[in-house]
Amino acid sequence: MSVTDPERRLAAADGSTAAEPTGAEPTGAAPGRRRPDLARLMDSGVGRNLGLVAVLAVLCVIGVATADTFATTANLLIIMTSASIIGVLTVGVTMVIIGGGIDLSVGKVMALASVWSTTVATQSYGPVVMVICALAVGAGAGLVNGVLIAYGRIVPFIVTLAMLISAQGLAEQISGKRSQIVTDPGIAAIASTRWLGIPLLVYLFALVVALGWVLLNRTTFGRRTFAIGGNPEAARLAGLDVRRHTVLLYVVSGLCCGIAAVMITSLTTTGSSTHGTLYELDAIAAVIIGGTLLSGGRGTLIGSILGVLVFTTITNLFVLNNLASEVQNIAKGAIIVAAVLFQSRAQRTTP
């Protein structure tokens, strides 16, 4: 405390000589040191995100130049809607990766939740139970993942890979490999409802991102996630319950799968074991180009979401220009490599 006061006063004195009335300046920001500040900015999450925003802007320019329909409201809503489902999955995957893990199972856990919540039996209880069922199946799969990883001490890659395979199998068994049509108008209404011209799905996506951001950046849960991902041994010896927290992280990811399952069920009005194939790879790719360290401890949710938007916009550009999806995948791969190269360079130049 004794140090705080003189420093505050110093900062205030600086402010008054520069004739700036704002007293809420952070004490660390010293004026007249542009270059280090810029370097610091580029190294911070905000800086990396600015890079992604620039990429997104370039993609939009290309879009406007090559396709007349790109800049229409209808098209932008298509981009947002198709980003929303992978986006929700990405929120969970980002948290797991920052916490030092990996979740390969999200796509098929989502499929399983969509199938389980649309069986004839479940549908007979009405839309509320269907939603609860989807969330419970997602969270339950996450719980199994988490317990096996934290208490069974199996590598996350293996556990979630096994979950991916068995969730696929279970979804096929329950559905008999048939698409289950949703008869309830309430569920279908989730995707068709619009507020102020924007689909409800996009609001849901925004809500999940906002909740995820708050959880990661403003709560003790988020702080522990960064600590455990950054140095699990230090976190353990500082008295954190690393195993319980790990379980919670996978449950959160599973819950995101449940939410995404409701969204995709509503959008397609079917529950199907074919939903979400390879979505986990798209989500992980988005997390990586969003600047999150695959080894954990560092990353931003906003970066991941920008990553999702970049990928969805690319897809959209290719569709609008009638280009083959093969080329599209090559472009996505190149973008992942370019983003990681750029990030590692940026990190090396700013020690």
Binding site: V3, R218, T220, F226, G230, A234, D241, G297
Partner: protein
Amino acid sequence: MTRASSAEPLLRMRGIVKEFPGVRALDGVDLDVAAGEVHCLLGQNGAGKSTLIKVLAGAHKPDAGELEWDGARVSFGSPHAADRAGIATIHQELDLVPGLSVAENVVLGHEPARLGFTRPVGAEHIARALLRRLGHPEIPPRREVGRLPAAGQQVVSLARALSRDARLIVMDEPSAVLDSEEVDNLFRVVRELTRSGVAVVYISHRLEEIRRIGDRVTVLKDGRTVARNLPARDTPTAEVIRLMTGRAVEYALPPRGPAPTGEVVLEVSGLGRRGEFADVSFTVRAGEIVGLAGLVGSGRSEILETVYGGRRASAGSVRVRGAALRPGSVPAAVRAGLGLCPEERKSQALLLDEPVYRNVSLPVLSRFGRGGFMAADAEHASVRAATAELDVRPADPSRPVRTLSGGNQQKVVLARWLLTGCSVLLLDEPTRGVDVGARGEIYALIRRLAAQGVAVVLVSSDVPEVLGLADRVLVLRDGRVVHRAPGGELDEARVLDLVMEGSRDERD
């Protein structure tokens, strides 16, 4: 002795100096090694033995000094160059590949090959011949190295050194992982090697081993050679210990107060962990500093971690103010008021890329949580108070911990436990990697915390540090408490005698 003095020196090092930022690790070291002798290198932790070996093996380039090898001046630019010249090092952590076979390890990097295809049969022949030469024909060349016992792995390391025609083999505490029968075997192998003209530089803390195997002894202290070519068998223990002790740099140790008489806070009784330590009992009063002295491998760090719940005890109990701690639970220990500053600060205590304040508040996050949400202002204010009290520099808590010096990083870890208001502080090597100036501050800090009523347990390789700070000292050897005394009643030579010489009783 006679063997050694008659031979031309194979290796001659003169005035070797090696500096690292802020510390002069070697400050004029001389070393002569003759072909066919076992030359023992003695010195306390931090005397410069490891650095010297690394210079010899080409891993470090000396800043000054001469190196003569086989009569010619040389300088090894890389480990590969030293390897080619015929110098092999067998490290404490054996650098074998556990998943490969014995034969594959022996020829690793020099695989016999024809047209790019390896010849496993050729490798097995080489390995079998070398193992026979080393007196261990029973080791199957096809066995996976990871499945051999420690002693067998050591023999494989030796075979690997020989496969490269090593003429000088450096062995860094080879006996640390061996039982007495295995040590006998190792010595037989070493004698066999020296008979065929190979020179061995042997590093050990166990004087009794040096008597058995060594020819001559060189003693290092604070990066200098203080005695050269002493006869290994005839130099009295007292003389060796006198040479190793006594310190060029005297640290400012705060004066000792009267013996603390506060209530007993920490009570450890009969604590044990299979294969690590057994039957450790001690109590610590409020305001008291209890020191644990012992060599690396004596179980010091393991005991601290077990008390803290970081390892699960297989026997015994830990009580804090009379209440038994749940074994194997760090969160329970932290709630009960324990705090640990671990041995490896960077890998065990800190989030290096995160700012200071996030490192300090880690154990007490829930205190700053308001329904799970972080109360950032309260957190910053508390952290600032703690770091200011410990004078962490620079004072800006938003700096990444990585940018701080070793001493200030240690203060960050201490600030963490100051913030929890812990009543028992467990310190493992609190001044490792800390420069001399910051050491004094950390000593004063430990004393001040004790004066405020914290019960402190201190582990350190630095014997004067333990003796100077602790009110009571427990001397450990091979996972057991072998001696206890008030800190003021022991001196460095006595402690070294207890931890080194004493091992003879059990081995012979």
